[in-house]
């Protein structure tokens, strides 16, 4: 007979030769024992040589038991001495039967808690004497397993389900090796295997409880049996969807137990039933956000549903080993109230269905990589601006912000309301999250936080308060909707154009661009320094002064306050700064012309006239123009009586990094060194022109003395060798340069071209480009917000790695597939869950009245930390029970009030008369079984009652001697 048919690879073909239960086993075993090999009967010998299938399995199990050295009785465990961190260790043997393979697993505690065997021996000697008198209390007839099941230590054990269901600590389990092929599926198969197990236990005198796992994985049942010289135990499970309501409460279960055990002893002699009870209550989060962050109503409903189940919190109330007279629970009455339990535990699960930050970043990345991304202007067309619009920067900004913040309130829940408002306090490191500001680490003594902030300091993004960041945040609100993105973008770009065309500096000006200085220590300020900085103010900062002093010496003051875009920021910010440069440059040029047009015009025309004369006769008579200051005591090389002047010069063309790149590529495309030099002579030429205009009668030596002092020998008054190379670039340029003050020169910086270029790129942007521009800013903001929201948690969870990944992603220029961003996103997702988990828990327990109470705050902080740690601890997926975080003192703990309120009103997280969502019981009864003259035997029933999941497991013991 094969267990394994070809069609159905289960044990369905088994037809057990015997149908055994209860007493017939004994008879059968006796029969086996009686058959001796030396029997004379020839017929019997023949019969005996035919090995039945049962015998095959029996001997295989016996071999396994023998192999693990488990024959005979087992030492007693002192379950009360179990250490906190005990675990079950497991050894296994493979048992093959026909074509099926089973595993026999031996579980035992890893702790050294075996009772001294000496005591036991002494007691055994006295056994005969004592047994008559103290039968009721003397438990010497108890096997090791009987001791275990009568102890409440393993109530609702979290380590192993069998420990919890049957109260056993050391046991054997037989199960199919392959969960489907070797599954014991039918009752017949189970009975057959159980028979074999019982025979094997009896043959080997093994006293360990032996369980057989039957049924499908979703409905596993452990049937079991244990035998000692004095006791037989049987372990029976039931697992039902529906159960009679009578058996869903303590009273009913006690009834069930008494019915099942059917003790013959008189009621007077019987002990009370004792019960351990474990109720789980669902804790409801207070102030569940009613609003979602999205405006769409459909989405709102969906999101609300999503977040409702994000945090599952449970209060566990335990009552341990109480006599039946003290606890009452039936269908209509219960005295098991959370307030009366002294043992409270809290557990939590957090499965966010929606992670807004990660979602936004993921969507933005997807937009970036969309090759067929549409043009923003084609998605949305604004009505043409009315020409009479008087542009007022401040009003316009407000208007723009209003227009853009359709979902302002919703969004403020996500990124903090401050994103949209000005920050006056420059000392704040980052915007604080209103509801969790208590958690915000206020000092940077924490090296982890310092590391986070240090990593973010090198990020290539935009200043957190800048208009660029605000726009990015605004666009991210509508990242799911390309048309909405286009609307915000186009309206923003239109505003930019208005400012450019009306010569108005960009909204916010110094204020917006300048406020970010707060987060940068002074030594880094130049790096992040916005170009808008007031030059006088900038001089007060030591570094800036250094940076500016280079310019000072070069003497370029004409466009002095229009510096270059800061190349340390992201390209979008650079472009906007560049636009501001353009507007400023044009304003300044206009101011320059208005103030000096007459003077300069005169000088200019004079110069032109004189130029002709100079060519003909004497350059010295030309009227000097564009002088800034005297150059020390220096005088003209040819005319020691004429002082040298430093001219006003044009400043080098400000460049964004893509312009730098383009220029570098242009230079490197030129094959000859002379071409490359020629391509860069512009600045030199204009300097020479300005110098000539300021110093009539000067020559190259004078110019070099000012421009490249190292090439001028003060002692000999001669130029260096390299400047005297025949027809070198400097000399040639000097020959060709005409005197022309900077103000009249062709400007290097053609602000109109640059500004139009930027605006045109913006106006023709695709959604992918927009997403690409705001990407670094959104990652930056997310990292800031996550640190900010629940700083400590993120920081302690090595948030620095997230920060450095984000920072690196923004600086990694060569990544068409955005791998670095995806890598950063991977981490952000993890930290976002953590941050929100923490935030949910915090909101649940935190109350305004704890504001000034440091002790309470510490307790809550620790509790939240413990709950999160427990929740994220790996555990077996099928574990029946979880150890929660103990709330010492239960209802009398100050948090008990928060959870339970006064148990009268509605203030608590648990409602009055809230029904537990899960109830578990363990009942103990020591009663003489099977007859009145039997010694007392431990009986145990475990029950787990929850919605559509009812499990009752009984461990019953019978006296095998006094029956």
């Amino acid at each position: 007979m094969k267990l394994n048919s070809s069609g159905n690879r289960c044990l369905s073909t088994i037809q057990p030769p015997f149908r055994l239960d209860g007493e017939s086993i004994l008879h059968f075993q006796c029969g086996m024992a009686e058959i001796e090999p030396n029997d004379d009967d020839v017929f019997e010998i023949d019969d005996f040589t035919v090995v039945s299938p049962l015998e095959t399995l029996v001997s295989a199990v016996e071999v396994a038991i023998h192999d693990m050295n488990l024959e005979g009785s087992r030492a007693n465990y002192d379950v009360t001495k179990l250490p906190r961190d005990w675990e079950l260790s497991m050894a296994e043997r493979r048992v093959t039967y026909e074509s099926n393979t089973f595993l026999v697993r031996w579980y035992r505690p890893n702790a050294e808690i075996v009772e001294e065997p000496k005591e036991k021996k002494d007691e055994e000697d006295e056994y005969e004497v004592k047994s008559e008198e103290e039968e009721v209390t003397n438990l010497n007839h108890y096997s090791s397993a009987a001791h275990q099941i009568s102890s409440p230590t393993l109530d609702f054990c979290t380590k192993n389900n069998l420990c919890a269901m049957y109260g056993v600590l050391e046991f054997l389990v037989l199960q199919g090796e392959h969960s489907t092929n070797d599954r014991i599926a039918t009752i017949e198969q189970k009975d057959f295997v159980m028979s074999a197990v019982r025979i094997a236990l009896n043959n080997t005198n093994c006293e360990l409880p032996f369980f057989v796992l039957c049924g499908a994985p979703e409905r596993e049942l452990y049937f079991g049996s244990a035998e000692s010289r004095t006791q037989t135990m049987s372990f029976l499970p039931t697992h039902l969807h529906q159960i009679s309501p009578r058996h869903t409460n303590l009273t009913g279960l006690i009834g069930l137990m008494k019915e099942k055990v059917r003790s013959q002893a008189s009621v007077v002699d019987l002990e009370e039933v004792r019960a351990s009870v474990r109720f789980e209550y669902q804790i409801v989060e207070p102030d569940r956000p009613k609003k979602s962050f999205a405006g769409d109503e459909k989405k709102l409903i969906k999101d609300c549903r999503d977040c409702r189940h994000a945090l599952e919190m449970t209060l566990i109330c335990l009552w341990k080993y109480l006599p039946e007279t003290r606890v009452h629970e039936n269908e209509s009455f219960s005295n098991l109230e959370p307030a009366d339990s002294s043992h409270w535990e809290i557990t939590a699960n957090f499965h966010p269905r929606h992670q807004p930050f990660s979602h936004i970043l993921k969507t933005t990345l997807a937009h970036c990589l969309n090759e067929s991304s549409p043009l923003a202007k084609e998605l949305f067309v604004l009505p043409p601006p009315s020409p009479s619009d008087e542009v007022n920067p401040i009003k316009e900004t407000t208007k723009m912000m209003d227009h853009m913040s359709l979902n302002k309130e919703d969004w403020s829940n996500l990124l903090g309301a401050e994103v949209l408002s000005e920050v006056s306090d420059d000392d704040r490191r980052y915007p604080s999250w209103a509801t969790s500001s208590a958690l915000l680490p206020q000092s940077t003594n924490d090296p982890n936080l310092a590391k986070c902030l240090e990593d973010l300091r090198h990020i290539k993004s935009a200043p957190p308060r800048s208009i660029v960041t605000r726009l990015a945040v605004q666009i991210s609100h509508v990242i799911d909707d390309e048309a909405d993105m286009a609307l915000k973008w186009i309206s923003f770009v239109r505003l930019l154009r208005q400012h450019w065309e009306n010569n108005k500096e960009l909204p916010g000006g110094n204020k917006v661009f300048g406020t970010h200085l707060w987060s940068i220590p002074s030594r880094h300020r130049r790096h992040f320094c916005p170009f808008i900085m007031d030059v006088d103010k900038a001089r007060e900062l030591p570094c800036l002064h250094l940076a500016l002093s280079f310019d000072d010496r070069a003497g370029d003051r004409v466009l002095s306050s229009v510096a270059a875009p800061s190349l340390g920021t992201c390209i979008f910010n650079q472009k906007l700064e560049m636009l501001q440069c353009c507007i400023k440059a044009r304003l300044q040029r206009m101011a320059c012309y208005e103030n000096h047009v007459n003077v300069f015009a005169e000088e200019f025309f004079d110069a032109e006239e004189n130029l002709e004369e100079a060519k003909a006769s004497n350059d010295m008579d030309r009227t000097p123009a564009g002088r800034e200051k005297r150059m020390g005591e220096a005088t003209l090389h040819l005319r020691p009586d004429v002082p040298l002047y430093v001219p006003n010069t044009q400043m080098p063309c400000p460049m964004t990094e893509d312009m730098v790149q383009a220029h570098a590529e242009h230079i490197s495309s030129l094959r000859e060194g002379s071409e490359r030099t020629e391509a860069q002579l512009g600045l030199l030429r204009s300097d020479m022109q300005a110098f000539k205009a300021a110093n009539p009668g000067c020559d190259l030596i004078d110019f070099i003395r000012w421009h490249s002092p190292k090439d001028f020998d003060e002692e000999t008054g001669e130029l260096s060798d390299r400047m005297r190379i025949t027809d070198n670039a400097w000399e040639r340029c000097w020959r060709e340069a005409t005197p022309l003050p900077a103000i009249h020169q062709q400007p290097h910086f053609n602000e109109a071209t640059v500004a139009e270029g930027i605006l045109s790129v913006f106006e023709h942007a695709t959604v992918a480009q927009i997403a690409d521009w705001i990407l670094p800013i959104l990652f930056h903001q997310t990292a800031l917000q996550l640190i900010n929201e629940d700083g400590q948690v993120i920081v302690e969870a090595e948030g620095a790695s997230m920060c450095s990944l984000v920072s690196r992603a923004t600086r990694d220029g060569s990544q068409p597939a955005k791998q670095s961003y995806y890598q950063a996103l991977h981490h952000i997702r993890k930290y976002e869950r953590l941050a929100h988990f923490h935030s949910h828990l915090w909101k649940t327990f935190w109350r305004q009245q704890f504001l000034k109470k440091n002790k309470e705050e510490d307790v809550i902080r620790q509790l939240v930390k413990d709950i999160m740690k427990e929740s994220d601890t790996e555990r077996a997926s099928d574990a029946m029970f979880r150890t929660g975080i103990r709330l010492r003192g239960g209802a009398s703990h100050f948090l008990g009030e928060i959870i339970g309120g006064d148990f009268q009103g509605q203030n608590g997280l648990i409602r009055k008369n809230q029904t537990p969502m899960r109830k578990s019981y363990v009942l103990y009864w020591n009663a003489p079984v099977p007859s009145a003259s039997s010694r007392i035997q431990p009986q145990r029933i475990f029950a787990n009652i929850e919605y559509e999941n009812h499990r009752i497991c009984s461990a019953t013991t019978n006296d095998a001697v006094f029956m």
């Binding site: 790096h527 940076a547 490197s668 030099t677 030199l684 490249s708 260096s720």
Partner: protein, 221 residues
């Protein structure tokens, strides 16, 4: 050293040919007339002229070297030292993986500016950029004003590698570039090690089996 010269292309189109495994962008910076251009020509062309025309803006040369079995293309940018060009040249700092910060041992002022240049690098370059401090013109010992010890002290203080060189006598020129390439490779290997292997980040370590130069070779004075 197993680093060998493969080709020495002067000028050329750096982005044109793909005949390399890695490209490092290097920058030579320092005060005016400390010998940056001569140094670059000595390395790339093995030539020396007493006078190169003062560099206007920026210029570059390309050289491919072997590091282990990998071809490393060096795009070396030469910069104008004059103050006037400083805002222009600093724009090119970004993206440079290595810097040769040069002073002239016969010129005190150029040595005194080293600190300023270093600040400029920190401010404008990528944070991982590697820097070698070079005291050039060490053949002109008679006119020396900055001793080798002062140079080394300053390098230690700024945590930089240090060499004294002569472009004219071809002393340590190659060693400077080899050292710079080596420390860049080490830094790359380090950051690859730091990355989580599960994240699937692509990148290969360069073999860092280049033999170390004996210390005596680092300074010929």
């Amino acid at each position: 050293s197993d680093m060998a010269v493969q080709s020495a292309t002067a000028g050329g189109q750096p982005s044109g040919d793909q005949n390399f495994d890695y490209m490092f962008k290097l920058l030579i910076i320092g005060n005016s007339s400390v010998g940056k251009t001569s140094f670059l020509f000595r390395y790339c062309d093995d030539s020396f002229t007493s006078a190169f025309v003062s560099t206007v803006g920026i210029d570059f040369k390309v050289k491919t070297v072997f590091k282990g079995d990998k071809r490393v293309k060096l795009q070396i940018w030469d910069t104008a030292g004059q103050e006037r060009y400083r805002t222009i040249t600093t724009a090119y700092y970004r993206g440079a993986m290595g810097f040769i910060l040069m002073y002239d041992i016969t010129n005190e002022e150029s040595f005194n500016s080293v600190q300023d240049w270093c600040t400029q690098i920190k401010t404008y370059s990528w944070e991982n950029a590697q820097v070698v401090l070079v005291g050039n013109k060490c053949d002109m010992d008679a006119e020396r004003v900055v001793s080798c010890d002062r140079g080394r002290q300053l390098a230690d203080q700024l945590s930089l590698e240090f060499f004294e060189t002569s472009a004219k006598e071809n002393i340590n020129v190659k060693a400077v570039f080899e050292k710079l390439v080596e420390i860049i490779c080490n830094k790359m290997a380090e950051s690859l090690d730091k990355q989580d292997p599960n994240q699937g980040v692509k990148g290969t370590k360069l073999d860092a089996n280049t033999t170390q130069k004996p210390p005596s070779q680092q300074c010929n004075c």
